[in-house]
Each structure stands twice: as structure tokens, then as C-alpha cells.
Symmetry: C2
Subunit: 227 residues, 2 copies
């Protein structure tokens, strides 16, 4: 959190008004280090675009940060990316749920979370070399080490894939890592308050039904499964 969060007036460190956190601004962070850390911990985001008739659509996409951009794998979201390819405005939101904040009232109960909102215009990555590099970055992010264990991506596969990049120039983060903010009379009561942590946990790898016998679980998959 930056110093300005302790001042009274509106925060002036947001990169733009439209990504400035309005609700509970003291939870906002505009530092790239905070934004990057959240993006690097996420594998799925929600991409919003607007259809011709003004209807918004939100679809899940796999994401990976590459430097100052977020790379989004296109094939999962044809409609979104046809729209986005023309340079239409998009919003990519990544949310990590860290727990349930159990307050002494329903009103104060909430969630622990880390979220990032990025707005801008998506750039389609057309250049084959750049597209391949972005795809490898996405795969590396999803399953670290996996790109080195599989055959090369073919030219046909590469042509069938769409990859988009969205600059992090206009982004904000919001982090609630706290406890319930109950009024004094509730704190004095005999009602419990605390947090139930939530985390995404990887289980043991399950081999595919058509896996040929004698093929061992690769290192990347072992690591992803926590050993």
C-alpha cells in the first residue's frame, strides 16, 4: 500500500479514474508489484467484452503475465476474441479467494480475496514467433516445466490458436486480508468472529484412460501435484 492510502482525500495514485477503486479504497493497491504477484498466482481470469447490442459477456480464460502484459489464450472464447480483435475495449479480472470472513453479524461478513482489474484494448498477437512464445509462456505458467517435456507445437496448431495481450498500464488491485470490522457492541457480545481460510489445492495426478502402459508421471506434473 502506498502512503496516499493514509491521507484523507481521494487517492491520486490510480493510473486512471476508471480503474480507481471506489468501494473501500483503503483496500486498493496500484503498485505493479502487488498487481504482478496476484496475476502470477492466478491461472484463470474473467474477460468481459461488449456485444454489438451493448450486452456485456464475461467468459473464463487462462491467463499468464508476460512482463507488462497479460496474455490470454483465445481459443476458449471465440466470441470474446472476435470482438476484442478489432481493438474493442475489454476488462480482464482475476480473483483469488483466500477465505470467508465470519463476522459477528451477517452485515459485516465478507470474503478475503486478492483481485486485479485490467482495462484496455486487447492486442492480437499475430507474429508466429511471438505467438509461439506467448503460448509457451501460458503453458509454463499453467504447468511449469511442461513445454520442455512435449513435442513442438506445429504450424497448423499455431494457426488454429488465437492469443491476445492486454497491457497492464491501466490496472488496479484490491486486497482484503483482514478481519471483520464489527462495531464495539458486537465485539463485546458472545458471538464468534474469525476467518475460514480457503485455498485451491492440487490433488494426485490421474493418468488418462488411453495412456500407454509404462509411461511415468513427468516431473512437471509431480511438482504441480505438490510432490
Amino acid at each position: 500500500m502506498t502512503d496516499s492510502s493514509e491521507s484523507e482525500g481521494p487517492r491520486t495514485d490510480a493510473p486512471s479514474d476508471r480503474v480507481r477503486v471506489r468501494r473501500i479504497p483503503e483496500l486498493a493497491a496500484y503498485d505493479r508489484s502487488v498487481i504482478d504477484a496476484i496475476l502470477d498466482a492466478a491461472i484463470v481470469g474473467h474477460l468481459g467484452v461488449v456485444g454489438d447490442d451493448g450486452q456485456p459477456f464475461v467468459l473464463p480464460v487462462t491467463v499468464a503475465r508476460v512482463g507488462g502484459e497479460v496474455v490470454v489464450h483465445g481459443s476458449v472464447a471465440g466470441r470474446l476474441l472476435r470482438t476484442g480483435a478489432g481493438g474493442a475495449p475489454v476488462c480482464l479480472t482475476v480473483t483469488l479467494i483466500d477465505g470467508v470472513i465470519v463476522a459477528r453479524s451477517l452485515f459485516e461478513s465478507s470474503m478475503r480475496y486478492r483481485s486485479v482489474v485490467v482495462v484496455g484494448r486487447a492486442r492480437e498477437i499475430d507474429d508466429p514467433d511471438q505467438k509461439l512464445a506467448a503460448l509457451i509462456a501460458l503453458s509454463e505458467h499453467l504447468i511449469p516445466g511442461r513445454p520442455g517435456e512435449v513435442r513442438d507445437t506445429t504450424e497448423v496448431e499455431l494457426r488454429q490458436t488465437k492469443v491476445f495481450a492486454l497491457s497492464l498500464d491501466e490496472a488496479s488491485a484490491k486486497v482484503n486480508n483482514g478481519w471483520s470490522d464489527d462495531p464495539a457492541e458486537d465485539v463485546a457480545s458472545s458471538t464468534w468472529a474469525g476467518v475460514v481460510p480457503l485455498a485451491a489445492v492440487a490433488g494426485q495426478p490421474e493418468p488418462a484412460p488411453d495412456l500407454r502402459p509404462g509411461i511415468e508421471t513427468p516431473d512437471s506434473v509431480r511438482r504441480l501435484s505438490g510432490g
Copy 2:
């Protein structure tokens, strides 16, 4: 899945063209039972609205299904709900990540997931009794049993809260519960394929720093933490 998924032409069972699943339509489901089950397993969704200038915004919200509607707690997303209150078109998307599908190539690797997309116009719940019922439903969904353990919500709290409902009339689900669809030459290779399951897991409850001594962890919290 319905019978029409086995026919050749386009599926005709989607409630509208704009929620019809275009990409890999064989993973689509339009049955309310499938949609309801996904919504009932989720506590957070991503709500998309469109700003005055055509810019989409996507923000995380807590959700609960109540009959044929999804209820969204408003206070977390002021900007979204000011827009939505006017009856503007919104899109609510809920995604549960179930695993990483590790294919024999980067191209075929993907995710196991269950997602629901709902489009429509959000209705603000104004009536105090209905609003209270919706808030209790949200709390019950987030922490089953908790509403019975805490004091009643006050009129002031209720006035400060905004709750919206979105009909499930226009909704679709997409479920990928499968394995990688590798071409025969990759299946014949010595490369591993399978799935690394992912699940959201609740940890042990952590009491708030200001919790008075001698207050036991309530039943609702114990159950949420898995014992």
C-alpha cells in the same frame, strides 16, 4: 446433456442465441438442473456491466441461487450496481476450476471446469422483507447455519445494503470433465497425459484478534472447515 447434443446440426435447446455455447458446443448444457448445481457449488461470480462510454467492467461478487434467480450482494460493487440498477444489461459468470488437463502437446492442454453464464437485466430488490430474505439466503449459502447464530440485521444495515437478482431464464452451462483429445500419433508416443485435479479446500478456522476469551467456534464454522 440433452439428446440434441448427439445430433449433427446446431443445438436448438439453448434458451437464446446469445447464451448458446459456440466453442465446443458438445460441452454445453442448458438443463436447469446442471445450471443450478454449478451455481449452488459456487460462492463467487464475476459480474460484467458496461459503462457509459462502452467500457466493460468485470468485478467479483458473492452469489447465491434462490429458486429461478441468482442473488448478488451489492455493496461490493458500487459502480456495477449503480449501472445495473437502471435495468442495464449485465452478465454474471460463475466458474469452478476442477483440474488441469495435461495433454501430450501444449495445444491440447486445457482445464477441467464447470461454468455458467447468465445474461439479462438485474432487478434491485427494494422491498425490505424480500431484501432481508435475500441477504439471509446469501449468508446461508456462504456459511450454512450462520444466520441462526448471529443477531438480527438492523434496519440501518438493511438500508445500507443493495441486493440484486438476475433471472436464470437466459443461462447456459459448460462443463469440461474430460481428458485430453490427443491425435493418434501423440497417443502412440511415450508422452504422459492425464489430469491434475484442483479443488477449493477450507482450512482450520482462525479466531479474530479481538475475539473475547472463552467463545467457542460455532457449529457453522466447524462444518465449513470440514469438521
